[in-house]
């Protein structure tokens, strides 16, 4: 790739007519013209590489930005927010001097191409975002979506993704405490591999991605730079790859979790000695991103000598070095007198570290190669002032017909036997079945602070051994609901994650999101996106939980067919003492089961409509966020005051799914009575939101019902923990053994 002569800034100025491959690098004509206008000349090859990768959809959010602004504009007042949107990850105050950072990101397209490495490097990337804030990573979660469970390609993609997440996360020593696995034919060519991570630090340890102080050194440390994923950010993550034949596929990044583990320890040691002024991880767009973001967020400029970057492949051109997405690299800004100590710590951990440049007085980012200046730009124009599109959007014409196709009118079971058979089929269906075969490939125990892990409603990690302070995280999303109504679907995802956190006894504090959609160039998809963002922003405002950051993944589609709009929402909560956490499993026979909330006939988008009728239509369950807030308050109070011993949120699959899970986890059955005013079918299978089922010790019944009554939350006694069947009086009984076989055999049979 070497060119003669070197395409320096000087050379570019002198040769204005040289044609550059801007289209191949993913830039549109007007975007290229803007680069020329900004620079006042044609860009050099290296500059073009930087602009093209940083102005890609993946890095610049150019299609989504105008909508995402609502998260800031509608942000609720929150004392908890320490660092908001725009940094590597948001940071929240959880009390006692601790701060928690968390974020969810997508690694969808790479995981389809190479499931193991795609998923593994997804974990690696999100974990580096957490370290870059100054925090020790303490847990990961993985919301996953695949094509139909029985499709042959799912058997290729899913085991690879699961092994990759396990192979990387387990090797880093991070407990995997939550997430989801959902199957739907709409994800056939576009699996969604989202990865979330949580980190903990003291308030004073928060670090930011900025390069300040002229003379400070820029140190690149971690793995050597190779040809991994060159152009990946602009091509792989931004355009569909329908036509990608094996030979055309771009190089895949390979992860080295061992290197990342060393990077974590060495970075935390450098933080502890206060050696770091600013820090940025290298992910999508590699050095292009790290240098331009550090420089544009700081007070000065930056000068980098690319010859000093340690290479794995000595034939790389400067453009390739700038675009390389080699994993396990970070960039730190360090005061000159602290450089030696920083390098010493890296040496201790066998991490390669090299000074590649320094912060300058000016406001330019200048990059040199073989003595020539090949980049001379205002870093803000690269990192922050990329194109912004007001993509046209329009409610698709099929939306009315979809909503009119009412699931409540589907034929319902006509007898107790038929209802029993449908319940059994439901709990055995891939989406409702036990995911143990998957989750047991992840380490839940490492670090010795895991209080709750899947299949609990949310994962929970102890933060302080002395006081018992802990944090909880739940991720949820339901693409079927969002397809029926993207605004309501996004709010239902938020409501469910919020409820899941509260069900375990933690107080919801803040939100991160991963917004997975089809092509923004399709007005129908863009409408779904706009509606989902509006719904989420309105919902967060109402619940008082600010969005601290997140990720947008577009172009998840094959040909004209987009995935269901799938906003995945993560809610972080805090609990003062993890000893008060509420598990899903029933604890003691004889405890009373109370259904909290209102149950209506709501089957649009339900698991029942999918499993029994292969149907998607009608409206999703009604959203009532004030009710969600009240329910959460009751669940948290009841946990704190010892009024409930187990609790489970009701969502897809309805009440019967929740009861079956609580029963199977504990080996204790339940006798249920259909309450007055409801039929058995609606009672068991409706998916009305804002509900949970709790087990109340008899000694606490009066206190608990008085509290619900006083606060105005409907609480209906619906049964008792008892026996070795799940029995619905007057209807049917399902022995736990039969339920267990149905619930636990499905996934291994399909995938093992």
């Amino acid at each position: 790739m070497s060119r003669t002569p070197l395409d320096t800034v000087e050379h570019a100025a002198a040769t204005p007519d040289v044609e550059l491959p801007w289209a191949e690098l993913g830039l549109k004509k007007d975007e290229y013209e803007r680069v020329v206008e900004i620079l006042g000349r044609r860009p050099t090859g290296a500059e073009l590489a930087m602009y093209s990768v940083m102005w890609s959809e993946h890095c610049s959010y150019k299609s989504s930005k105008v909508h995402l602004r609502q998260f800031g504009e509608k942000a609720p007042e929150s004392d908890a927010m320490l660092v908001g949107i725009g940094e590597n990850a948001g940071v929240v105050d959880v009390g006692q001097g601790y701060a928690v950072t968390f974020k969810v990101e997508s690694h969808n397209h790479p995981s389809y191409v190479e499931p193991y490495q795609g998923a593994a490097t997804g974990v690696g990337g999100i974990v580096r975002d957490i370290i870059a804030m100054g925090a020790r990573p303490v847990a990961v979660v993985d919301p996953l979506r695949f094509g139909a469970a029985d499709h042959p390609d799912t058997k290729r993609v899913l085991p690879g993704v699961v092994a990759g997440i396990g192979g990387y996360g387990n090797c880093l020593g991070l407990p995997n405490i939550g997430g989801e696995v959902v199957f739907d034919a709409c994800y056939q060519g576009n699996p969604l591999v989202n990865a979330g991570a949580i980190g903990v630090m003291r308030h004073e340890d928060i670090h930011l991605a900025k390069a300040s102080g002229a003379g400070n050194k820029v140190i690149l440390y971690g793995a050597r730079t190779g040809g991994d994923g060159i152009g990946g950010a602009s091509i792989l993550a931004s355009e569909t790859f329908d036509d990608a034949k094996p030979s055309k596929r771009p190089a895949v990044q390979v992860g080295d979790p061992f290197q990342e583990k060393l990077l974590i320890e060495c970075t935390l040691e450098a933080f502890a000695e206060k050696l770091v002024v600013g820090i940025q991880d290298l992910g999508a767009a590699g050095l292009s991103c790290a240098t331009s973001e550090l420089a544009s967020n700081g007070s000065g400029g930056m000068r980098v000598t690319l010859d000093d970057v340690p290479l794995r492949d000595s034939t790389l051109s400067p453009e390739e070095i700038l675009m390389s997405e080699s994993q396990e690299r970070m960039c730190a800004v360090v005061e000159p007198e602290k450089v030696d100590r920083f390098l010493e710590i890296c040496e201790k951990w066998d991490v390669i570290a090299t000074v590649i440049g320094e912060v300058t007085d000016g406001d330019r980012l200048e990059i040199y190669w073989h003595g020539g200046k090949i980049v001379d730009v205002d870093p803000r124009t690269v990192a922050h002032e990329g194109p912004v599109y007001e993509r046209p959007y329009a409610r698709p014409e099929w939306q009315d017909a979809l909503q009119a196709d009412d699931a409540n009118k589907l034929p319902r079971p006509q007898s107790a036997e038929e209802l029993r058979a449908q319940v059994l089929k439901l709990v055995a269906s891939p989406n409702q079945a036990s995911k143990k075969w998957i989750t047991q490939q992840y380490d839940h125990f490492v670090q010795g602070n895991t209080v709750l892990a899947m299949p609990e409603d949310s994962g929970m990690i102890r933060v302080d051994e002395e006081t018992g302070l802990g944090v909880a995280l739940a991720t949820d999303g339901n693409g079927r609901y969002a397809k029926l109504d993207p605004y309501a679907g996004a709010q239902l995802a938020l409501a469910e994650a919020y409820r899941n956190v509260a069900t375990t006894g933690a107080k919801p504090l803040a939100v991160s999101d991963c917004l997975n959609f089809g092509s923004p160039e399709d007005p129908a998809v863009m409408w779904q996106f706009a509606e989902a963002v509006r719904g989420l922003a309105d919902g967060c405002l109402q619940l008082g939980t600010p969005v601290t950051g997140g990720n947008v993944s577009l172009y998840n589609q094959t040909g004209e067919a987009a995935i269901h709009p799938t906003p995945v929402v993560a809610v972080l909560g805090v609990i003062d003492d993890v000893a008060r956490r509420t598990p899903v499993a029933f604890q003691e026979e004889g405890q009373l089961l109370y259904l909290l909330g209102d149950t209506r006939e709501e089957f649009g988008g339900s698991a029942w409509s999918q499993v029994v009728h292969d149907h998607l239509g009608g409206l999703p369950p009604k959203v009532d966020l004030e009710r969600e807030r009240l329910l959460a308050e009751i669940l948290i109070s009841a946990s704190r005051d010892g009024m409930i011993d187990s609790a489970h949120d009701l969502s897809d699959g309805g009440l019967v799914q929740a009861v079956v899970e609580s029963a199977l986890l504990s080996g204790k059955g339940a006798r249920l009575v259909v309450p007055d005013g409801l039929d058995a079918f609606t009672f068991l299978l409706s998916e009305s939101a804002g509900r949970a089922i709790v087990a109340v010790p008899r000694s606490e019944e009066v206190r608990f019902t008085d509290m619900c009554g006083a606060r105005g939350l409907p609480a209906t006694r619906v049964g008792v923990v008892d026996g070795d069947t799940v029995e619905v009086q007057g209807e049917f009984a399902l022995p736990l053994a039969e339920l267990r076989e149905a619930h636990e055999a499905t996934i291994p049979a399909l995938l093992a």
Binding site: A163, C171, K261, Q440, V446
Partner: protein
């Protein structure tokens, strides 16, 4: 007085801080040891903890066994220093030939993390005296390369000498020969097992059981009464 128990950190060790916590919970003093350091800081016993030392590249434990710290450790273990190898630590001990046999990839080829039932077969080692022989316990298991193998002669010898320290019950999670979960050397000072006792020391955490704590109280009692 209390005992000082060293925990070695190799690059890629994961459960070092958890193991130090377990030692503290048992009432002993944990001492951090570093793989590049030949010095064992005069500790009374050493735990090689779980993790993926050197990424478990080549073979699990194969690169770690050549660390400077292992030179000293092998000599002192042969001279009687109590050493416990957990998971990756067990793998390192077999690679270093302080314990017989070797560890291969799980027979089902997947990482497995589960609450594992075990039987304590030998309650006379330095690390198991607080159990009773035949006691059934639950300890978390989590590994990729947990399949214990040795030749028939060695297995027979281990059985005959009572050196199978732990056996898997109910489920053999990785295809280990004769359901072996852990073994001891002849002298009973060096013990290795795949499950993680340090993850079963607090009632609220992990599986919520404390079946692993006796490992650490056993060694403490032995050391303070010695």
């Amino acid at each position: 007085m209390t005992a000082r128990i060293g925990v070695v950190t190799f690059p890629g060790s994961l459960d070092d801080r958890d193991t130090q916590r377990a030692i503290r919970l048992a009432g002993a003093e944990p001492v951090a040891l570093w793989h590049k350091d030949k010095d064992l800081k005069q500790v009374d016993a050493v735990v090689l903890c779980g993790g993926f030392s050197y990424g478990d590249y080549l073979r699990a434990g194969a690169i770690a066994r050549f660390s400077p710290v292992m030179d000293t450790l092998v000599d002192q273990a042969r001279a009687g220093l109590p050493v416990l190898g957990i998971c990756n630590g067990f793998q390192i001990l077999t690679e270093a030939h302080l314990l017989p046999g070797a560890m291969l990839g799980n027979d089902h080829l997947h990482f497995i993390c589960r609450d594992q039932k075990l039987r304590v077969e030998n309650a006379e080692t330095a690390w198991t005296a607080d159990y009773t022989a035949g006691q059934e316990i639950h300890i978390p298991l989590k590994n990729m390369d947990g399949r214990y193998v040795a030749d028939e002669y060695t297995l027979d010898e281990l059985e005959a000498e009572g050196r199978v320290a732990f056996r898997y019950l109910d489920v053999n999670p990785n295809g280990s020969l004769r359901d072996i979960a852990g073994v001891t050397n002849e002298a009973g000072n060096v013990v290795g097992l795949m499950p993680h006792p340090e993850h079963a020391t607090e009632p609220l955490i992990g599986t919520g059981r404390t079946d692993g704590l006796p490992f650490f109280t056993s060694i403490l009692k032995k050391l303070v009464t010695a």
